[in-house]
């Protein structure tokens, strides 16, 4: 049963409240009794091993798959909030002659690309790219972009609709370390300016520990949730089923590695 309920006057600092969420697809139970709340105006990271149902949870939030239980949004007074979705990747062959401007116009205008783009649309694409520090990419083919560049373009597309909530699926998966830092800093800036509620899925615990204020450990159901201090060895063991530790990094950043001792 698909139920999206709205604010009933609960604590204002909660953006989304999920109760007893369950998803079963092709007779496989993917999520079970997921109960959690996402804080308003903060960055929440969803971590967990492969196949833990992280992407499924995002799809349920987007309302794209059937689920049981309830999801309540408290971001705005009435109805469903605008959710900006930044997918992990695009599926295309490198030969597809689609420029960044083509891609972004598709989200902005119904007018078929082959009838040309209006000046207004071109200007909006330019502004959108400026917002994410990607001006100059307009005429590049999407197949020639680096992972970080494509991620910024996808972010610009998601921001175009002035979302209340931003969902990012593995935003740093295809990006090198400097690009990752750049992207996360950009995300923090945008979040602060627009008071966005950000939810990101990540494999990369170092990204999580740097850029999230709230963590949810997911493996079919919620294993733990809370502030960054939730990332204890015990909780990570519970989520991943093997020992993970935060190690002090040479630059002073903690890193997390699996350890082999049982």
């Amino acid at each position: 049963m698909n139920r999206v309920l709205q604010s009933l006057g609960t604590a204002p600092e909660t953006a989304i409240e999920i109760r007893e969420l369950g998803v079963t697809r092709q007779r496989v139970e993917i999520l079970k009794a997921v109960t959690l709340s996402i804080p308003l105006g903060k960055t929440t990271a969803i971590i967990g091993p492969n196949g833990a149902g992280k992407t499924t949870l995002l799809l349920a939030l987007l309302g794209l798959i059937p689920y049981t239980g309830t999801i309540r949004f408290h971001t705005i007074g009435e109805g469903r909030p605008v959710i900006g979705y930044v997918p992990q990747r695009l599926e295309f062959e490198r030969g597809l002659p689609c420029t960044v401007e083509d891609l972004m116009s598709v989200g902005l205008s119904q007018k078929p690309l082959w009838l040309g783009k209006r000046t207004v649309i071109r200007a909006r694409v330019h502004d959108g790219l400026k917002r994410v520090g990607a001006v100059g990419l307009e005429n590049r083919l999407i197949g020639t972009l680096s992972g970080g560049e494509l991620q910024r373009v996808l972010l610009a597309m998601a921001l175009e609709g002035h979302p209340h909530i931003l969902l990012l699926d593995e935003p740093t998966a295809g990006i090198d370390a400097p690009g990752e830092q750049l992207f996360c800093d950009l995300l923090s800036d945008i979040q602060e300016q627009a008071k966005l509620t950000v939810i990101l899925i990540s494999h990369d615990l170092s990204v999580v520990s740097h850029h999230a204020q709230h963590v949810i450990c997911l493996n079919k159901t919620v294993c733990c949730s809370g502030g960054l201090n939730t990332l204890t060895e015990e909780n990570l063991l519970k989520t991943y089923g093997l020992h993970m530790q935060l190690y002090p990094h040479s630059h002073g950043h903690p890193l997390i590695h699996p350890t082999m001792n049982p």
């Binding site: 997918p87 599926e91 030969g95 002659p97 119904q110 690309l113 082959w114 009838l115 083919l141 609709g161």
Partner: protein, 281 residues
């Protein structure tokens, strides 16, 4: 109908200083090609994006069984042909959605089943001359009624495809992203498959069922080698299809070759040139 179209052909004949221009059937063929070639080009862009080349091959080749059955039962093969084309499209989509097998496996199973059925039915009769009409296409035998039907359907489909162009592009790039932006992904995917089935079956009369997929894929593939943006992809694809189609008809007149095959050979020549140019760049 004859009265409506004939003066147009007569007028065109007076302003065109070539031998072929005095024949109405050449004008009808050119008219039909001017509708079908752009339609194939427009759909072909998406067929390549969605990797549906094998799917459209399956639809066109499945109509073979429709033709065989039509001849066997003594009904107009055009009716059974369209029926089998749509039936194959629906069967593939249905089985694919309810199976863990990859789509090329599902397509292959259904295509072989329908082909085997067609051959079995065909074996039961001696007279197969009618069949060749559909295998190779007979644009030169098209009549005014069919031309009018093509014009109406073609204009409608062209309009719908213009409306859907941006949405289909986004679906092909990431269907979840498209869905999150309020695009009815499932409906449009089914809708596109249906339109594809209809256009493929309509084109069989012109190009022949062996070569319909080439008319979809070759111009779009050529355009991919040359275009620097999606608008370029569309227009180059359209230009290639139209030029190949027109020269195919007129070339067949001078060289005494089949129209469909001549069209595709010219299209393939365009592809070869575009590929060489693309490699150099």
């Amino acid at each position: 109908m004859e009265n409506f179209f004939h003066p147009i052909y007569a007028f065109l004949a007076t302003i065109t200083p070539f031998e072929w221009a005095q024949f109405d059937f050449v004008w009808r063929a050119l008219g039909a090609m001017m509708i079908i070639a752009p339609l194939c080009a427009v759909l072909g862009v998406h067929v390549v994006n969605f990797r549906l080349a094998f799917f459209s091959d399956a639809i066109s080749h499945s109509t073979f069984a429709g033709v065989a059955l039509g001849i066997f039962l003594g009904v107009n093969p055009l009716v059974t042909l369209i029926g089998f084309g749509i039936l194959a499209g629906l069967a593939i989509t249905l089985v694919k959605g309810r199976s863990d097998l990859s789509s090329d496996t599902v397509i292959s199973v259904i295509l072989s089943t329908i082909m085997a059925l067609g051959i079995t039915v065909l074996y039961a009769q001696k007279e197969t001359r009618n069949l060749e009409v559909y295998l190779y296409g007979t644009v030169l035998a098209i009549n005014d009624g069919e031309l009018l039907l093509l014009l109406v359907l073609g204009t409608f489909v062209f309009g719908v495809m213009g409306f859907l162009f941006n949405r289909l592009l986004l679906i092909s790039l990431n269907s979840q992203l498209a869905a999150s932006r309020g695009i009815a992904v499932r409906t449009l995917e089914y809708g596109f498959s249906l339109i594809l089935a209809v256009v493929v079956t309509l084109s069989i009369r012109i190009i022949g069922l062996f070569l319909v997929t080439a008319m979809l894929v070759v111009p779009a593939a050529t355009a991919r080698n040359l275009a620097g943006g999606m608008a370029g992809l569309f227009w180059i694809s359209l230009f290639c299809a139209l030029t190949a189609g027109m020269t195919g008809i007129l070339g067949s007149f001078y060289w005494d070759t089949p129209v469909g095959a001549t069209t595709i050979l010219i299209g393939s020549l365009f592809f070869l040139l575009s590929w060489l140019k693309g490699r150099k760049a």
